[in-house]
């Protein structure tokens, strides 16, 4: 059997192809990652910006003993689920409709893509403005119907709802696109055969369409979860984590710790590392589903 060394030698050209990417990977991904893990075990902050030293698990125990921590975990998990499921569902529904007989597809697509194509820091600021208690459009709208205005950003639960809605708005175009692709790759003949066999409309969808795009749905859920978990913009720009810590998720907390005055990079790094642990398993699933097992036979 070929020894490890021999196998490495045989794969020389493969490594050559990925070498530049590999270098980038090492320096800009693996090294910062390792560095980050390292820092999380030190006490790097504004007081010890250069002369930091290892302090073992102190940061982690600090985090875990913080009563806020559980809230943040809860927030992050609920944040992820309440984003991913509607985003995938909306994207799927839109893709299904656009895949059927309907006129003006290109025009609709053009509009539906806008949330994704526009820079999110701008649109999120608009959303923030729309949620404004006094002047925001939403409350203006409610006033027309005599409903008492809602404190979209000041009330804990509404604030969470607000950022989720804004983030869903940002997310469904992408899902719509990947589902459109999957739907288009189903041969029309299968639908014809199903028609003749007696399946139409919803039954067709249930027995033919959905099962065939199941891999894509799972992909969307996985990738969406990984991305949403650490999605910074929506949670930060609209509410900056507030009120209190109602809309604080892992990443906003890490940011605040790192850049919010105390420059507490070590604790921020610890938070980041914990977030990574959470995502390790889904990430693994994603790799297997997306690429590793799908070797060209």
């Amino acid at each position: 059997m070929a020894s490890v060394l021999e196998r490495l030698k045989a794969s020389k050209t493969s490594y050559l192809y990925i070498l530049p990417a590999l270098i980038g990977l090492f320096f800009l991904i693996l090294y910062p990652f390792a560095y980050n893990v390292y820092i999380s075990f030190t006490n790097m902050n504004i007081f010890h910006i250069r002369d930091f030293y290892l302090i073992g698990f102190a940061n982690f125990s600090y985090i875990f003993s913080d009563p806020d921590f559980l809230v943040i975990v809860e927030n992050t998990v609920i944040w992820t689920f309440s984003n991913v499921i509607p985003t995938v569902a909306l994207g799927l529904l839109l893709a299904l409709i656009l895949n059927s007989k309907v006129r003006g597809k290109t025009a609709y697509r053009m509009f539906l893509i806008v949330p994704w194509a526009m820079p999110s820091f701008i649109t999120l600021l608009i959303w923030k403005g729309m949620y404004d208690y006094q002047y925001g459009v939403f409350n203006k709208f409610l006033e027309q119907f005599g409903v008492t205005p809602i404190n979209w950003l000041g009330n804990c639960h509404w604030a969470f709802f607000s950022i989720v809605v804004a983030n869903i708005w940002l997310g469904y175009p992408f899902m719509m696109i990947i589902f459109s692709g999957a739907l288009q790759s189903i041969p029309t003949e299968l639908y014809e055969a199903a028609s003749i066999d007696g399946a139409v409309g919803f039954r067709q969808m249930r027995h033919i369409t959905i099962p065939l795009i199941r891999p894509t749905i799972i992909l969307g859920l996985l990738l969406g979860s990984i991305w949403t978990f650490n999605n910074f913009n929506s949670a930060y720009l609209i509410t900056a984590g507030g009120p209190g810590i109602c809309t604080t998720i892992f990443i906003t907390q890490a940011y605040n710790l790192a850049f919010g005055g105390l420059l507490n990079f070590s604790v921020a790094a610890a938070y980041a590392f914990i977030a990574f642990i959470f995502l390790f398993f889904p990430g693994l699933l994603w790799t297997r589903y997306m690429g590793v097992t799908r070797q060209v036979s």
């Binding site: 196998r7 045989a10 794969s11 493969s14 192809y17 990925i18 530049p20 990417a21 590999l22 980038g24 320096f27 800009l28 991904i29 910062p32 980050n36 909306l90 839109l94 409709i97 309907v102 609709y108 539906l112 893509i113 806008v114 194509a117 526009m118 820079p119 701008i122 608009i126 959303w127 403005g129 729309m130 002047y135 925001g136 203006k140 709208f141 175009p173 990947i178 459109s180 692709g181 999957a182 288009q184 891999p215 894509t216 992909l219 990984i226 650490n230 940011y255 990079f265 921020a268 977030a275 995502l279 390790f280 990430g283 693994l284 790799t287 997306m290 690429g291 590793v292 799908r294 060209v296």
Partner: protein, 294 residues
């Protein structure tokens, strides 16, 4: 059996069609509504805005006395040494380089992951996924430290390299998927025809995966053109500023130049939209190549 379903069929279809269009229209309106505000603000005279940026009264954002002053002021904007032309030039240079680099690197990498087996393949693929699993905000510091050691702070490369590497997370998988979906028979046919592996790669495989190349380009473009966080850290001299940095400078602690801000946002968003519309027909094939079982 004669069937009366002929006419019922049509009625049901009409109802379905109406529902579909209604839903699509509602979603389309929701999709562009916030953007309409940006457009409106960009055309609203400064004096009106000075009374406070409030989304007052109108549900339909429409300026009463539209003006293009903000757009012209964007073009003449100057912030201690940098002008609009500087920022545009910088952004273009960096973004185009990123796109080129991204394609140049993910093509061979995607090919290697698709067509070859080598030790560590699985582990490496997983590693490319790390950036997404890791809050990006925090990696900026170590990246900065590395680049400052290399003396690349405050240079174009200081941005191009991270942007390129950052795009790998999705792009390498896209290219791998694209190559996966090209049957191996073609490789073999090309080699029998006398092409070396490299030529087979360039002349046969790459043309077949152009939709995915377009997707990778679009992805790199979007990640680079609109980025603020990294540019903010990496580019310090004012005449090296990219457009997003200039945009942010319009938000000062004391006052926000909403009109100019909106106008500039639109100017920055237009290329994204245009590039997007050009590439969008490739986008669908590009993102899903190889991921759906054939």
């Amino acid at each position: 059996m004669t069937s009366i379903s002929g006419s019922q069929w049509t009625l049901g279809k009409v109802v379905q069609s109406v529902l579909k269009h209604a839903f699509l229209i509602i979603m389309a309106v929701i999709s562009i509504y916030p953007v309409l505000w940006v457009v409106s603000t960009a055309f609203t005279p400064g004096e009106t805005l000075a009374t406070g940026w409030h989304f007052v009264l109108d549900f339909l954002p429409f300026p009463n006395a539209p003006t293009i002053d903000h757009f012209t002021s964007v073009l003449h904007l100057q912030v201690t040494g940098g002008t609009f032309t500087d920022w545009l030039r910088n952004s273009l240079l960096i973004t185009v380089s990123t796109v080129v680099a991204s394609v140049a690197l993910t093509l061979p990498a995607g090919y290697a992951f698709s067509r070859r087996i080598f030790p560590g393949r699985a582990g490496l693929m997983f590693s490319f996924l790390l950036p997404t699993m890791f809050p990006g905000v925090v990696t900026i510091i170590p990246q900065f430290l590395i680049f400052s050691t290399l003396g690349l702070v405050n240079t174009y490369l200081g941005c191009i390299i991270p942007y390129t590497v950052g795009s790998f997370s999705l792009s390498i998988f896209i290219m791998k998927g694209a190559f996966d979906s090209v049957p191996r028979d073609l490789d073999e046919a090309a080699m029998i025809d006398g092409a070396s592996e490299l030529r087979a790669f360039w002349q046969i495989l790459v043309p077949l995966t152009l939709p995915s190349v377009a997707t990778v380009s679009l992805w790199a473009f979007m990640g680079s053109w609109l980025d603020f966080a990294l540019a903010h850290v990496m580019l310090q001299s004012n005449n090296l500023w990219t457009l997003p940095l200039a945009l942010y400078s319009l938000i000062t602690p004391t006052y926000t130049y909403y009109g100019t801000f909106s106008a500039m946002s639109l100017i920055m968003a237009v290329p994204v939209f245009v590039v997007f519309m050009i590439f969008q027909k490739y986008l669908v094939t590009g993102l899903t190549a190889g991921s759906v079982k054939g």
